[in-house]
Structure formats: C-alpha cells, structure tokens
C-alpha cells in the first residue's frame, strides 16, 4: 500500500501504463507534425490522430468527424460556450446553466455576460439535481444554449441529461454538457442523450494531462462554433494549433480501455464505494451529499458534522482526498457546490470527497475507512460542539457572542 492513498480520482487520475505505452512511439520515432501533408513523418502522425479520433468517437457514440481535439476540458468548455454565443448571436443571447457547474463553465458564462449575453444560473434541488420544471420555465425564445454537466465533479450526481436535452430542443436551443467526470465511467451516448456539444478530458480517465476534446454535432442539427483560437485552421477551422499527437493518441487509448472495462469497473468501484460509504455513515451525524441513486459509481461525498474541517484534512493526511474541486481547493472557500445543496459553511468545510479509481484496491478502502473513522472520532473528542450536541443542547438555539 502506498501512503498517502490516492482517493482523489475526480481531480486527476494516474496514467494507465497501457496509455503511456501507446503514446511512447509518438514521442520518439513518430514525432512528425500531423499537419505536414507531404511527407512520411506527417502522415504517420496523422494516422495516429485519425485512429484516436475514432476511439474517442466510439466511446460516446459519435462519428469521428464530430471530434475536435483541444488542450483539455477547460478549453473545450470555453470553446463550446463562447463559440456558440458568437456563432448564434443573431438567434439569441441567452444561456442557461446551473450553479453547481465546474468553474470552467461558470467562468466562461461570466465572460459571455461581459460580452452582453444573458445567463441564467439555475439553482439545484437539495440532492444536487436540476429541477426540470425550473429549467422549462427559464427557457425563452432568446435561449440559444443550455449547458448542464453530466456528472458533478464534487458530489458525483448524474443529471437527467436526456430530459434536459429534450427541453432545450423543444425550445430551439442547443444542449451542451461538460461530461468530463462521466465519460469513460458510465455509458454516455450523444445520440441516445440528445447532446449537441460535449466536453471531455483525458486526465480524468487515466490518460495524459493537457489534452481533451469537444464533440460538436454535425447532423440534426449541424452545430457550429466560432473558433476561439485562430491560426493554421486545424480541426476543421474550429481549433488551430499544432496537434498534441502523443497526447491525442493517449486520449484515444484511454477511451478505448474505458469503453472495454467500464461495465466491470463500474460494478467493482461502486461496491468498494458503497463499502466505504456504509462504514462511514455508521458514524453518528455523517451524511452523504447529493442524490445517491443517480450518481457516478466511484464517488462519495460525505459530511461529518461537529468536526472542524481543516483539522479533519490534517488528521487524514494518510489519504489524498479533497474537500471539493481541485481547481478551487487553494481558495479555502467552502465548496459552492455543497453550499448550493443547502449546507452551511461549517458543514461544507467538514465534507470529504472520496474519489475511487481504477487502481484503488479493497485494502486501500479498508485503510481509508479506518483512518477516517479515527480522525472523525478523535476530533469530536476535542470538540466542545460535539460535547454540547451529545448533551442534547440544540446548537441552533444558542446565540453566539460576537468577538
């Protein structure tokens, strides 16, 4: 067992050795520029890219012509949102998203607002799911895009994307989904789900960092986005820049492996996750955040009441876990996702995201249970609040003196 145990697979995943192996030739003898159209080195690189495009497309039920390679999901999210906003501005200027989206989507939407767009940020229900009635009510004739993530990065809830897509389409809007956490973990099919644009990233599914893709529907309807980076006109003019050939090959391989192993792996991980969750919710005053029926198989976000958040992370230093999204973890702010479910700042701080992965073993889960239980129990022993709670004092009724 390697200490600290890595249970932060929603932040990033280790690269699968099979992915690394697939990439290596493209670092050495197959180093050509995929855009070099008149010699051997270019063709070999292009072949690698073409094959990867098929592998990615296959995993999400798309055609290879619908895959645009990018530097990652953040760039894909930016390209989709800003690109649709610019391309469809004659049609309308309204975008609908949700408050629990990843920063990449929220910040791109804020930028759209600066450019004169209107954005509705839908609240979510207590279980983290979007209220379809509220979505329907928010739709206007000006709405050009609905952007709702597939699986949430902090609590793992899976949104009813099929229903959301149907509502968007009924009102003539496009549906985009940030599926960074879902692709490769659960079946995602752009046609079954009615997805028009989809962002994905390699490093969340055992591929390399620095590469991702944007799916852009070509038929029914044919979707176009305005390029956000101009240059040599790569990726059918939607994304210029020399292709990251080894990275793209790695993404392709990661998609292929995920597709083959998804079913068995989801079963294995959800069993381990449930074991962890059941053991930890045996602790008094611990709660699972988000809908547990519609949830990614490898994630559990658990709040431990009456435990001081920073102390908890310190006491759990044998586990690499996170109390929220990595992309905002340096900020020390409580998770905005948990807050939007109605959690207080304190409770949001004392919540832990456990993200299991392909290389997580049962032994590690057992150890994680032990470490977490010990940490929570120890901190509660030191906590006056816990003492008061045990004495039956209603903490909400106390008026705290200001310091």
């Amino acid at each position: 067992m390697n200490i600290p145990i890595y249970l932060d697979n929603n932040a990033t995943t280790p690269m699968d050795p099979r992915v690394l192996e697939a990439m290596l030739p493209y670092f050495t003898n197959k180093f050509g520029n995929a855009a070099s159209r008149n010699h051997h080195f270019g063709w070999v690189a292009e072949e690698g890219v073409d094959y990867a495009r098929e592998q990615v497309a296959k995993l999400i039920g798309a055609s290879e012509k619908e895959i645009i390679f990018t530097s990652g999901a953040t760039e894909s999210d930016n390209l989709a949102i800003k690109g649709v906003f610019e391309m469809y501005k004659d049609k309308g200027n309204h975008i609908i998203t949700a408050v629990t989206e990843h920063k990449a989507v929220l910040d791109a939407c804020k930028h759209v607002e600066k450019l004169g767009g209107k954005v509705t940020y839908l609240p979510v229900k207590e279980d983290g799911l979007v209220d379809l009635g509220e979505l329907e009510a928010a739709m206007t004739p000006e709405t050009i895009l609905v952007s709702i993530m597939y699986g949430n990065n902090e609590i793992g809830v899976i949104q009813p994307v099929k229903e959301i897509a149907a509502i968007a389409h009924k009102h003539g809007a496009l549906f985009m989904t940030d599926a960074t956490q879902a692709v490769g973990k659960i079946p995602v099919d752009v046609n079954v789900d009615g997805i028009d644009l989809l962002a994905l990233s390699a490093h969340k599914m055992y591929g390399p960092k620095g590469v991702g893709a944007l799916y852009v529907r070509r038929k029914g309807p044919r979707v176009k986005v305005t390029a956000q980076m101009d240059g040599g006109g790569h990726e059918r003019g939607m994304r210029s820049g020399t292709l990251n050939v080894p990275g793209i090959v790695g993404l392709g391989k990661a998609c292929e492996i995920a597709g083959q192993e998804m079913e068995a792996e989801a079963k294995r991980l959800s069993a381990l996750r449930d074991k962890l969750q059941n053991a930890l919710t045996e602790l008094e005053e611990s709660y699972v955040n988000g809908n547990v029926e519609h949830r990614l198989p490898h994630v559990a976000n658990i709040s431990f009441k009456y435990v001081e958040g920073e102390g908890l992370m310190m006491a759990m230093k044998d586990l690499a876990v996170s109390s929220g999204s990595a992309c905002t973890s340096a900020s020390l702010e409580p998770s905005y996702v948990l807050k939007s479910l109605g959690l207080s700042d304190d409770l949001a701080h004392s919540s832990i995201r456990f993200g299991l992965g392909r290389f997580t073993t049962e032994e590690e889960v057992d150890y994680a249970i032990e470490v977490t239980k010990k940490a929570v129990n120890h901190l509660r022993e030191l906590s006056p609040l816990w003492e008061m709670f045990k004495e039956g004092i209603d903490l909400n009724s106390i008026e705290w003196a200001e310091h």
Binding site: A35, R37, N38, A104, S201, G210, M229, T242, N244, T328
Partner: protein
C-alpha cells in the same frame, strides 16, 4: 536513407527531455491544484520549471504563463492585448504565421481593429521606416512582428522594433516560436511586451508552450475556469509537458553557440552544394547568417515540368521537407509568404529546415536526389 529536413514544422523530441517527462508520466500524476501531497509534489515541479525558463530568459517567473502551445500564446497576446488595452489599430506584415495573421484578420473582420501591413522587401525584411510612419500616423497601436519567418528564415531586428514601439508607446508582440531556444533572448533588455514559445520547435513535446507577458502590461485570460497560472489560464496544467519544455530549453541554452555553429555549417554547406550542382538555383529570403535563422533554408528551383510533384518525389526518395508552413500545407493555395514577397510562382520552392540531428551526409544525399529530379524534369 530517411532524411528529416522539416524541423521548422516540428522537431524530434530529445531523449533527455523524454526521460524527464517519462518520470512524471509514470509516477507524478497529481493535479497541481490539489493541496494534498500528490498535488504539492507536481505544483513544485511546475514552479521549478517556470523558474528554470525565467532564469534562462532573464525574466521573472511571474512573467511566464504556460499554454497549450504557440498558437494559444499568440492568440492570447493578440486578442487580450488589444481588447484589454482598448487598442483600435494593429500593425503586422503579410508574412506572419497564420496564428498571428488570421487572428488579427478575424479581429479586423469583426470590426474590432483597423489593421495595417508594414511593407517588406523581396527578402521578407521589414521596412522599419514604414513601421515608424504607420505608428506616427495612427493612434496607439498593437505591433505584431515575428522574430524569424518560419518559411524564409528572414530575421526581424526585434531590438530595433522594440525601440521604435517604445518611442510610440505601442504594445509589441513577437511570435518567437521559431527562435526560442535557437537564439538567446534576454528579456531584461528586449523591449517586448509579449513573446511566445512552442516546446515542440526546440526538441520538446507538442501541446505545450508559454506566453511571456511583460509585468508592465496586464491582460485578462483567454481561457477561463480555475485559478491556474495565477488566474491567467484556466485548465489543469500539462505537468509532464511543462517539465519537458523546461528541460528542452535548458538543453538548448547549454550549448547554444555550438548548436548554432553546427547547424549553420550544414545550411551553408547545402547552399554551396546546391549552387554547385544545380544551375539556376536561387534562395528565397535572407540567407546571410547575420540576418537569417540558421535552421531554415528556402530553395527556389529552376522552372521545371511537374513542379508540383517535387515534394512528392522527395518523399519517395525518403526526404521530408515542406513547401511552406505545415500549418497550411495541404491547403493547396500556395505559400502566402512567398506570394507576399513576390516570388516567381513558376519556380518551385522547397523549405529545408535543419536540426542538431542532421548531418552533411544527409545533405549530400538530398542534393544528389534533387539534381536527379531537376535533370529529369528540366
């Protein structure tokens, strides 16, 4: 024999760079934004890489921002530099790489700016007096002039342009993709506001580069989401790529003079051999070592039958070269650079670009093949 003479399109990864990257890919997989040990380990790696790069370029790490490559860096500098400083006028030449030219043209088309082109001579050299005039006759401008032209190798005097831009309070961006790691850039002296790097042009990995932003200018991000790169560029960092980029630059600076002398020697040798063996051969762009990039040689062949088959035949002979920029090769519209300097379209042009891995034997082989091809088709 397989000869790779297309190093301006991309270069082979240096095995030392791969070694550095392999370590990271194999075992240092954390997300640099994570605060646990896995995250902190790679955060340190990124910041160490940034420092290495900053030290080599004589600037502060705070001025180096990692990107997915040269195109993203150019786009960020141009789009955000212009918009965030409310500039309405930009100056460039028709010889720029498409990452610059198409970006400026898109902004012009969108009505965001007026775009002026500086005159260039038949070798692609910028007319500095015309640049001064354009700056005098317009409001505050954004100037984008590449350091070395990727097709011709002609150099721009970026020290001089920096002085001119300073005198006119203009913002100066230089696409230095072809020269970072091939020439010394001292950012403590150069009057540049933005310069860019793509690792794969200096034996580093594809998919990573950086944008240098002078501390005197502030811009907003182009890619939003997450607080990476001090809020300048959202997205999980390409950790292994960044480590590879730093290593590649370190290796480039370790013996730059030796590197330069070695490659210049190959280039000069090829020029001499071609002149000797093929009557009527000419060269496009500046070829004087003082004014040109030593890795690039653009050869203008005598008019011949089946000129468009020249590259194809070279490939069959195992020689990889290019008709122009890789980024627009395959579009069959010909080189925008060659047409901008008024090159004779009936004379086929081929760009040969060299690296430290090339040899004079490869030149001999290539010249012999070229001679055959010219004789057959003459």
């Amino acid at each position: 024999m397989r000869v790779y003479f297309d190093n301006a399109a991309t270069t082979a990864l240096d095995p030392e760079v791969l070694k550095e990257m392999y370590k990271v890919m194999e075992s240092q997989f954390g997300n640099p934004s994570s605060i646990h040990a896995h995250g902190r380990e790679v955060r340190t790696l990124i910041e160490r890489s940034r420092k290495t790069i900053a030290n080599l370029l004589h600037t502060s790490p705070a001025e180096i921002f990692f990107t997915s490559g040269g195109t993203e860096a150019d786009n960020t500098a141009i789009r955000c530099g212009i918009i965030d400083h409310q500039l309405k006028h930009a100056i460039t030449t028709k010889l720029e790489h498409h990452a610059v030219l198409h970006t400026l043209q898109a902004m012009e088309k969108a009505g965001a700016i007026k775009l002026s082109y500086v005159d260039v001579d038949d070798k692609g050299l910028v007319d500095y007096n015309h640049l001064e005039q354009l700056l005098q006759n317009n409001e505050r401008s954004f100037v984008s002039l590449m350091h070395a032209n990727n097709e011709l190798g002609t150099l721009t005097d970026i020290v001089r342009v920096g002085d001119i831009c300073e005198a006119h309070n203009a913002l100066f961006h230089s696409d230095t993709v072809q020269t970072v790691g091939h020439f010394v850039h001292d950012l403590s002296k150069l009057k540049l506001h933005f310069m860019v790097c793509a690792a794969h042009k200096l034996h580093g990995p594809k998919g990573v580069g950086f944008l240098h932003i002078n501390h005197k200018v502030k811009i907003n991000p182009m890619i939003y989401g997450g607080s990476q790169e001090r809020n300048m560029r959202g997205g999980t960092e390409n950790v292994y790529g960044i480590a590879g980029l730093a290593k590649a630059l370190e290796l480039a600076y370790a013996d730059m003079q030796g590197h330069q002398a070695y490659i210049q020697d190959i280039k000069s040798y090829m020029m001499a051999r071609l002149t000797q063996e093929i009557p009527g051969i000419k060269f496009n762009g500046e070829t004087d070592p003082e004014g040109s990039l030593y890795t690039v040689l653009n050869v203008s062949f005598p008019e011949m039958e089946m000129a468009d088959m020249l590259l194809f035949n070279l490939d069959i002979a195992g020689i990889s070269a290019s008709g122009g920029s890789a980024c627009s090769s395959g579009t069959d519209i010909g080189s925008h650079v060659l047409s901008a300097i008024g090159a004779n379209p009936n004379r086929p042009s081929v760009r040969f670009s060299f690296s430290k891995y090339n040899t004079k034997e490869e030149v001999d082989y290539t010249v012999a093949k070229l001679k055959e091809l010219c004789m057959v088709n003459a």
